[in-house]
């Protein structure tokens, strides 16, 4: 086996953006959030990712604006460093090496040059106890600084960053952990502890979830597991402290936040409702319901104009002061399990898998951006834990991407399984999928596999689904028997097949759609979809078939199957005999739709190996040991936007399409070649996103003009059109000067118009000379008349300036010669 040095497995997109609370910059233009090993800077108006702050080698666990300089930002990471960045330019300014993994960071303006970080207890590494440590940041010019001056402030704190907060400009710090709230006053150097019992009588759970401090008042708000919010006052006394309770949430309050002026308190939780409580008038509250999924963090911009909520479905919502959602930054939703397989939408070439509950997400791999969510279930999602709701479990696209089939199911404990098969047609007008047919209870039991007939030239589209009830069904698009004007074609069952009462497992259509292979335990049955005749059966060695795949293109005569007892078999369909077989524990076999290549993920000793091969050739095209640890069960070949022209044998299989796979830890990985990476680096350097121009009506006007101008300049008229440097300067001056310092409009107007006029000195001279020539021929006009006419010309010239005839160089020279002659002759005449 050849080692392929230049093909690498890389992480590709889809990292979490809701891990830690995002930060909105002082001017509310940028949003910074921790995302995997980097910090992403988003624009709050365009939702676009402007740049990544890369440098950390571990998970970034916190982002914090530097209190003394709001153009710089701290980030801490599990790699034991705190880094200081300039986020506008994306430059790393300093790296402070702490030496211990940092779990969260906080700072206040009161404490110059000190940051507070949460690290594991220094004494005991294995216990999950954390402490709050103050770090004196050394003043040094070096980029890499060791920060060793650590002093413990509080021990036994929570690693959750929402549970530690500074109060009233940094006078005290409040930390909640479990059932205790601890308040530490820096002046008195004294902590106060308040505790709850495990459960009160009513069964409410008192565990602290989050803490927020009022910016002006001595008040701490704490959120609890039973949905209560408590407002603590008088907490600088051991005994006489008081608290009041607010209760709206029905499950744990996951985030609390005061607005900068302290007038409102925002809270959110599982219900996905943002609640705004008036401070001191707690009976009045505003709600912003149905934000999509559970709220994990709430942030308010320093001027209080923007709120920002992070959600459990990897989404950040930007809200304009609790009125309306202005922007949504959505990452790839990665739930606990991908129930649908990973697919590629043939139209948009985007990755499709189930995302939000009841939705399919379309995720652009090239741009690392979620394109849209398709609502499959179309039911109100109830945000309540322990409730069984409809889930999308299967989905399939047909070859052209004009049909999408989805299966949703809901299984309650002791109720019947509810199944719906939905077929969606692509609507060219709205550029999205529109529900065409809903088949409720298509099968009596769970649907195991589903596939479309891939033949592109066939007249009818066909879908085959196999189910645990022992049948497989073919669905076909057909016009209704009684044609009515408002009813288009819909899907109906065409054929129900079974084989000896066995449970069908996998199904697969051949490339030309003339054969359907359905596996029943160890038997593979081959059917003809045209007549629904059982053509032949192929039997595997006695273990259930795990995967079934037809070869493509030149290898279309081969049918490959993998079995549970680690065997890969390849049948020749022309002779109906086994061509070859090899012993491999293959967890996933899939075919590249564009080439003959097949990829097999082979599970061996806790890690996965990849083999890429052609069914007709004995040697694998490519193989890589230990692609990742654990078993790979989801992978997909995504076609490339532009083909690579790699002629190296080992990387040729990546020319047409790219292989993406999901690791057991739900990381999206892919294979890249060195050349491709270099190209990507180069292009990312060129990429500059200018979002400085705000979307104002004036910008729209100008933008339109600019767009209109562009084709003009392209069409070659630019030669005639002269640049207008002065006038643009004048417009700039006019627009940038405040209105009250400008002179009167009447005065300005003439100036303005004058500035728009094109200077035509050259043309004017030429016409003048031509005139002189004419006059010289007539020899009658006096000089005054000549002057008059010439001034007339001067006035007219600007109007007709553009229409002035252009002369060739030869003519020009000729004219100059004539002019010289003229002058001498004219002067002569004057003298005489």
């Amino acid at each position: 086996m050849v080692e392929h040095g230049d093909i690498r497995v890389v992480h590709r997109g889809g990292s979490k953006i809701n891990f830690r609370e995002p930060v909105i910059t002082h001017d509310s233009r940028y949003l910074l959030c921790a995302s995997g090993e980097c910090v992403k800077v988003f624009s709050t108006s365009t939702e676009e990712c402007i740049h990544d702050l890369r440098g950390h080698t571990g998970l970034v666990t916190g982002v914090l604006l530097k209190p003394s300089n709001h153009l710089q930002v701290y980030s801490c990471s599990a790699d034991g460093t705190v880094r200081l960045w300039d986020y506008t330019d994306g430059i790393l300014i300093k790296t402070y090496v702490i030496g211990y993994p940092v779990y969260s960071i906080c700072a206040s303006a009161n404490h110059e040059g000190v940051i507070f970080i949460v690290t594991p207890m220094l004494s005991d590494k294995r216990s999950d106890l954390f402490q709050l440590v103050a770090v004196d940041l050394p003043q040094s010019g070096d980029q890499l600084v060791e920060a060793r001056e650590l002093s413990a402030v509080l021990s036994d704190v929570s690693s959750n960053p929402a549970a530690i907060v500074f109060g009233r400009g940094g006078e005290y710090i409040a930390s909640a952990n479990g059932l205790h709230l601890e308040v530490y006053f820096f002046k008195k150097q004294k902590p106060y502890r308040f505790s709850f019992k495990e459960d009160n009588k009513k069964g409410g759970k008192n565990t602290f979830m989050c803490v927020a401090c009022h910016p002006k008042d001595d008040c701490i708000a704490t959120g609890h597991e039973d949905g209560k919010i408590r407002l603590w006052r008088n907490f600088n006394h051991k005994k006489e402290y008081t608290y009041s309770t607010l209760h709206w949430h029905h499950s744990a309050v996951s985030s609390l936040c005061f607005t900068p002026e302290g007038t409102n308190l925002l809270s959110g939780g599982m219900e996905s409702v943002l609640v705004q409580w008036r401070y001191n008038q707690e009976s009045e509250r505003d709600f912003l319901p149905r934000l999509g999924s559970a709220i994990t963090h709430i942030t308010v911009s320093p001027d209080g104009a923007l709120f920002c909520t992070s959600h459990s479905d990897n989404k950040i919502t930007i809200i304009q002061s609790c009125v309306k959602v202005s922007a949504v930054i959505q990452g790839l939703v990665k739930g606990e399990s991908v129930r649908t397989d990973m697919m590629v939408d043939p139209r948009s070439k985007s990755l499709v898998l189930n995302g939000k509950p009841g939705h399919l997400q379309f995720y652009s791999l090239q741009r690392d951006k979620l394109l849209y969510n398709l609502d499959i279930v179309q039911q109100e999602y109830i945000h309540e834990s322990g409730l069984e709701q409809f889930e999308v479990v299967k989905a399939a696209f047909d070859a052209s991407g004009s049909w999408l089939a989805t299966v949703e199911e809901r299984k309650q404990k002791d109720a019947e399984l509810e199944l719906n098969l939905k077929l969606w047609a692509f609507d060219e007008q709205t550029q999205s999928f529109v529900l065409n047919t809903t088949i409720s209870a298509p099968h009596e039991a769970r649907i195991i596999a589903m596939c479309f007939c891939h033949a592109t030239d066939s007249q009818t589209t066909m879908l085959v689904s196999t189910s645990k009830d022992g049948h497989f069904k073919a669905w076909q698009l057909a016009a209704p028997a009684h044609t009515e004007a408002d009813e288009g074609p819909s899907w109906s069952c065409d054929f129900v097949g079974s084989y000896h009462g066995l449970v069908p497992e996998c199904c697969c259509f051949s490339a030309d759609g003339s054969l359907l292979a359905v596996s029943f335990q160890e038997v593979v049955t081959v059917w003809s979809p045209a007549s629904w005749e059982l053509l032949t059966t192929l039997s595997q060695p006695p273990k259930a078939v795990r995967d079934l795949c037809f070869g493509r293109l030149s290898c279309s005569k081969y049918l490959l199957g993998t079995t549970a007892n680690s065997l890969l078999c390849c049948w020749n369909l022309l002779t109906c005999s086994l061509e070859w077989s090899t012993s491999m524990d293959i967890s996933l076999l899939l075919a590249d739709p564009l080439t003959e290549n097949m990829a097999a993920f082979c599970c061996q000793a806790g890690s996965t190996d990849l083999f890429v091969f052609k069914p007709s050739e004995p040697r694998p095209v490519f193989s890589q040991k230990a692609v990742c640890s654990g078993k790979v069960t989801r992978a997909v070949f995504a076609p490339r936007e532009e083909m690579l022209e790699s002629c190296e044998e080992s990387s040729q299989w990546l020319n047409h399409s790219q292989l993406y796979f999901l690791t057991p830890y739900m990381d999206l990985m892919t294979f890249t070649t060195k050349a491709e990476e270099d190209r990507l680096m180069a292009s990312s350097k060129q990429l500059v996103i200018d979002d400085r121009v705000a979307m104002t009506p004036f910008y729209l006007l100008l933008g339109k003009h600019r767009q209109q101008e562009d084709p003009d300049s392209v069409s070659g008229l630019s030669a005639e059109r002269r640049p207008l440097p002065q006038c643009s300067v004048a417009i700039k001056e006019l627009l940038q000067t405040p209105a009250h310092v400008l002179p009167s409009t009447s005065f300005l107007c003439s100036m303005f118009v004058q500035s728009l006029l094109i200077s035509v000195t050259d043309g004017r001279e030429e016409t003048k000379h031509a005139e002189e020539e004419m006059e010289s021929e007539k020899e009658e006009e006096d000089s005054e008349g000549e002057m008059e006419s010439s001034t007339q010309r001067q006035e007219q010239a600007p109007l007709g300036g553009q229409a002035a005839p252009t002369l060739t160089k030869a003519q020009h020279r000729e004219l100059k010669r004539v002019k010289k002659l003229d002058h001498s002759w004219f002067a002569h005449l004057l003298h005489s």
């Binding site: 912003l288 934000l291 028997a481 009684h482 032949t536 192929l538 020749n572 005999s577 086994l578």
Partner: protein
């Protein structure tokens, strides 16, 4: 912030027949007028001239009804025995009828006494008709003969003795005065030409022929006998075109719609079927209370008249235009609509700046309650009388939605006697409906769980619970019977279907792997 997604009310497939142009046309009749006659109605014939009275032959009388009268406008009672086949002449002036006593009588429609009596047959005359020149009469009798009579002289012109059994039907050509066709119980149809002395064409129907019908073009002939309706092409020498077998008892009468595009057949199985005459598919079906002996359509299909064995005459009149409009008028918009629509149809000009207003989502009453998480109220709104009775699928959808939200128990609990009675009423009405059963069974179980402690406190609720129990027991019996039938059918199908052999290359060798190895080794052998 996403908007509230309303409850999905499932669209169930409409049961029963599909709505087509034909069903609309043939359903557009009023409720039938039923008139009791003295005996089985054997023949109905419409007068060809306005006002299109019709003659109904029943027992020993012939009644003539006006187009809209419930009482006969005229009655002919001068029959010694059962009368048969009262038919109008093409000018509507004369009426001929056969009789069980073998005498054929000719009446003036305005008179009372028979104008002529044609005596010559020896047995009952079941068929009598005028020829197209209006001066002759064709008769067919149980004495196996058919005869032609001259009206002015009341003399017999000709006798044809070709049939070998009763002649029960016959029809004369409207285009040629010499041609007529008779059908007999000897299974044959014979086309006679009065200019020749014998039949010119014979067709075999296969069953005793009960009725005959000529198309207006007279190129096609339709015959009914036994369960079959057959169409013959006369221009091709009597070649059979189609054989229809849509009735399950003897077809007794045939009729053509006024435009000639639909054929109607009536049968002893109490059905009238309407066929499309281009493809001979059944497009509509009428049900009647008793076996049908006679059927006639008024000109322009203004009414359908059917006579039955239980001596009831049923007349269905077509709905007038205003009446059919009345139904569609129910969807007429309320007057306030015009107020609301004001300005909505204004088309913006080119320079206009459009200020878009967020579209307010309209929610149904139960959805409004669901949005507020008022589960009991949502169920109450869905159980309102109109919804419950007219659109049970909405009620079921709300119950299903509540179940999905895990709050169905809360919604069902805490009801008083009236509320519980209403709920149980709905369950009794719909729980056995296969479309709703999966949802309602869960709800019924929950109700029994919740309210088992209060059983015996209210007689109303107790009665309903007993009814529910009865209903379920009956349903269980039905299901058991159905399963038995299914089992029987399965055995029948299994034994009747031919067993098909599937080619299986691996069948001879149990292990596919061994087979694979041998196929791999084969090329090596060839190479060496």
């Amino acid at each position: 912030m996403a908007s509230f997604k309303p409850t999905k009310v499932q669209v169930y497939p409409k049961l029963g027949e599909k709505v087509t142009q034909d069903t609309l046309y043939w359903k557009n009749y009023k409720a039938p007028v039923q008139i009791k006659e003295f005996g089985a109605i054997t023949n109905i014939d419409f007068s060809p001239v306005a006002p299109h009275n019709f003659a109904v032959t029943a027992f020993t009388r012939i009644h003539i009804y006006g187009p809209f009268s419930q009482e006969p406008v005229k009655t002919f009672t001068r029959f010694k025995d059962t009368a048969y086949c009262g038919r109008f002449r093409s000018d509507g002036q004369l009426l001929v009828a056969g009789c069980e006593d073998s005498v054929v009588r000719l009446f003036d429609v305005s008179g009372k006494v028979a104008l002529r009596m044609f005596k010559g047959h020896t047995k009952a005359v079941h068929i009598a008709d005028f020829t197209s020149d209006r001066y002759q009469i064709l008769t067919g009798s149980d004495d196996y003969t058919c005869r032609l009579w001259d009206i002015p002289n009341a003399t017999e012109l000709n006798t044809y003795q070709e049939h070998t059994d009763y002649i029960r039907c016959g029809v004369t050509s409207k285009l040629n005065r010499d041609l007529f066709i008779t059908g007999s119980y000897d299974h044959t149809l014979k086309l006679f030409d009065a200019r020749a002395d014998k039949s010119v064409m014979t067709m075999d129907h296969g069953q005793p022929v009960e009725s005959l019908l000529l198309y207006p073009s007279e190129g096609l002939l339709v015959s009914a006998g036994g369960r079959h309706v057959k169409v013959w092409d006369l221009l091709k020498g009597g070649q059979p075109l189609v054989s229809l077998k849509n009735h399950h008892k003897t077809v007794t009468c045939l009729c053509l719609s006024s435009n000639g595009h639909r054929l109607l057949s009536a049968s002893l199985d109490r059905h009238v079927k309407v066929y499309n005459t281009t493809n001979y598919k059944v497009v509509h079906n009428f049900d009647y209370a008793a076996s049908i002996l006679s059927l006639a359509l008024a000109p322009d299909d203004e009414s359908i008249v059917v006579g039955m064995t239980n001596s009831i005459l049923s007349i269905k009149h077509r709905k007038s235009l205003e009446e059919s409009k009345e139904i569609s008028g129910q969807q007429r918009r309320q007057p306030s609509y015009r107020v609301f629509v004001k300005g909505k149809n204004y088309v913006p000009k080119q320079d206009d700046y459009l200020v878009s207003k967020p579209v307010k989502q309209h929610l149904a009453k139960y959805d409004k309650q669901l949005k507020k998480f008022n589960v009991s109220k949502a169920l109450d709104t869905a159980l309102e009388t109109w919804t419950r009775l007219r659109k049970p699928e909405i009620t079921v959808a709300v119950i299903k939605e509540l179940d999905r939200r895990g709050t169905l128990k809360n919604a069902l609990a805490g009801r008083d006697e009236q509320g519980l009675a209403r709920l149980l009423n709905f369950l009794i009405g719909n729980v056995v409906d296969p479309r709703f059963a999966p949802v309602l069974v869960t709800a019924a179980e929950m109700i029994l769980d919740i309210y088992q402690s209060v059983i015996g406190q209210s007689p109303v609720v107790d009665r309903q619970l007993l009814r529910l129990q009865e209903l379920l027991e009956r349903e269980i019996d039905y299901q058991q019977d159905l399963l038995e039938v299914l089992g029987m059918l399965d055995t029948m199908f299994a034994s009747s279907l031919p067993r098909k052999e599937v080619p299986c290359p691996g069948a001879s060798r149990a292990n596919g792997l061994a087979q694979g190895e041998s196929s791999i080794s084969r090329p090596q052998v060839q190479a060496t």
